[in-house]
Subunit: 229 residues, 2 copies
DNA sequence: CCAAAAGTGTTAAAACTACACCCATGA
DNA sequence: TCATGGGTGTAGTTTTAACACTTTTGG
């Protein structure tokens, strides 16, 4: 008999918290459920782990199927296994968080016959299952990690202004930063390289565009350098 | 038919990396396997998650069954799910790491008819499965986390000397620290309280004993205080 | 010519680093 | 009385934090 085991096994799923940044806020992508339980509620994208795919593989597949997003920064967050997470049966979920830049990826607001949409992290609907707990954990991880690892760049287009970068940190850390000190610090680290382009279509002096220089960062990191905003 | 599912499911296990500190080194607890595969090899304590217990519950149960250790600091590390971790079938494991103080807990070197023993983290045998990867990840997590969260105290007895605390950081961070600067910093944070006891049975001037003051730490932490060694 | 954001240095305060000697205790 | 670690302060350097004006550009 296939799929029969000596002892009962929990179902295993992945759920993904996808963050993006618009001009105002940090956003999270949610999907409206079309099945019970929690039909009609908003939830994190996710689904079952297949027997022949890795956890990260499952996360990437679900993300593409449900939101059209691919080739993005994805990192494991935490595994949630409390007993009554899902009213149907025991389900253990491995949660991931992802960072995308809204310009570079064609994140459709609706795919796969489901309703997908961005919500501000701080102004979101009630979520299905324990997804509020998962989202809170992801947000906290992001806030913590962004300070000492240069993952924030994943939320920006390849070329960005220092103002955009500062805005990113201000939104995530939820406090204002001093412009001069911020520039001094970021430029002093030598991990962004200026391009010879400037931003376009702005109604004021155009700012220089910079690019994250992973090569420099990796070199510094190996020497014990501590990226810290 | 019980334990039969529509789709195949991976087995779900927990594995625990238990760290302790002796006078010299950081140690890790390993168990010698008495069954195939990897019979006779050393491995991390761990085992299957039962359908009616949480992940952390499974970790604590296995830890007690296999090593006799209980009531200790335990934190989820990472979930490992690559396809061929286990030669028998697909097994996903949720790894935890634990910190114990050798004085306070009666960690028997052998229980449950198995052979359990401490090994220096930097001088350990080859491990079964992907347990070397798991141990390395735990060690890295410990090194990272100990610097900005006061989890190191879990490796010490309730009352400890500042020298012991400094030694702990030197071993984990693998570098020497300046005695005066270290004391200045730790005492300046106000998160250890001196007791009016001194150490005993030492062949030199006895040092004052201190105690970690969680209350003060929690208060500072809420105000955004950043514990940093 | 106005509105809006770009870009740019200095100074005071705080934190960090390096460093050496006397003291108390038990063997 | 000797060996061992306990305990203590200062000075130079580096890092951080606070702060305001001129320039460029498009509307």
């Amino acid at each position: 008999m296939p799929n029969t085991y000596e002892y009962p096994r929990p179902a295993l799923t992945v759920d993904i918290v996808v963050f993006a940044l618009d001009a105002e806020d940090l956003q999270v992508m949610l999907i409206q459920r079309d099945l019970e339980p929690y039909k009609g509620h908003w939830a994190l994208p996710g689904g079952f782990v297949r027997i022949e795919e890795t956890l990260e593989g499952a996360a990437r597949r679900e993300l593409q199927e449900e939101t059209g997003v691919r080739d993005i920064f994805l990192e494991q967050l935490y595994t949630f296994g409390s007993l009554n997470r899902d009213p149907r049966e025991r389900v253990v979920t491995v949660a991931y968080y992802a960072l995308v830049n809204l310009e570079g990826h064609d994140v459709r607001a609706s795919t796969d016959a489901r309703n997908a949409a961005w919500f501000p992290v701080n102004d979101r609907p009630k979520l299905a299952f324990d997804h509020t707990t998962i989202l809170d954990a992801a947000y906290e991880r992001l806030r913590g990690k962004v300070r000492y690892q240069p993952i924030g760049f994943e939320l920006l287009p390849e070329k960005f202004t220092l103002r955009q970068l500062q805005h990113l940190y201000e939104v995530i850390l939820d406090r204002e930063l001093d412009k001069r000190n911020f520039r001094k610090k970021v430029l002093g680290m030598g991990i962004v390289k200026e391009t010879n382009e400037i931003e376009k279509d702005v109604a004021h002096r155009a700012a220089r565009l910079y690019r994250f220089h992973k090569r420099s960062y990796d070199r510094l990191f190996k020497r014990g350098f501590n990226f810290e905003i």
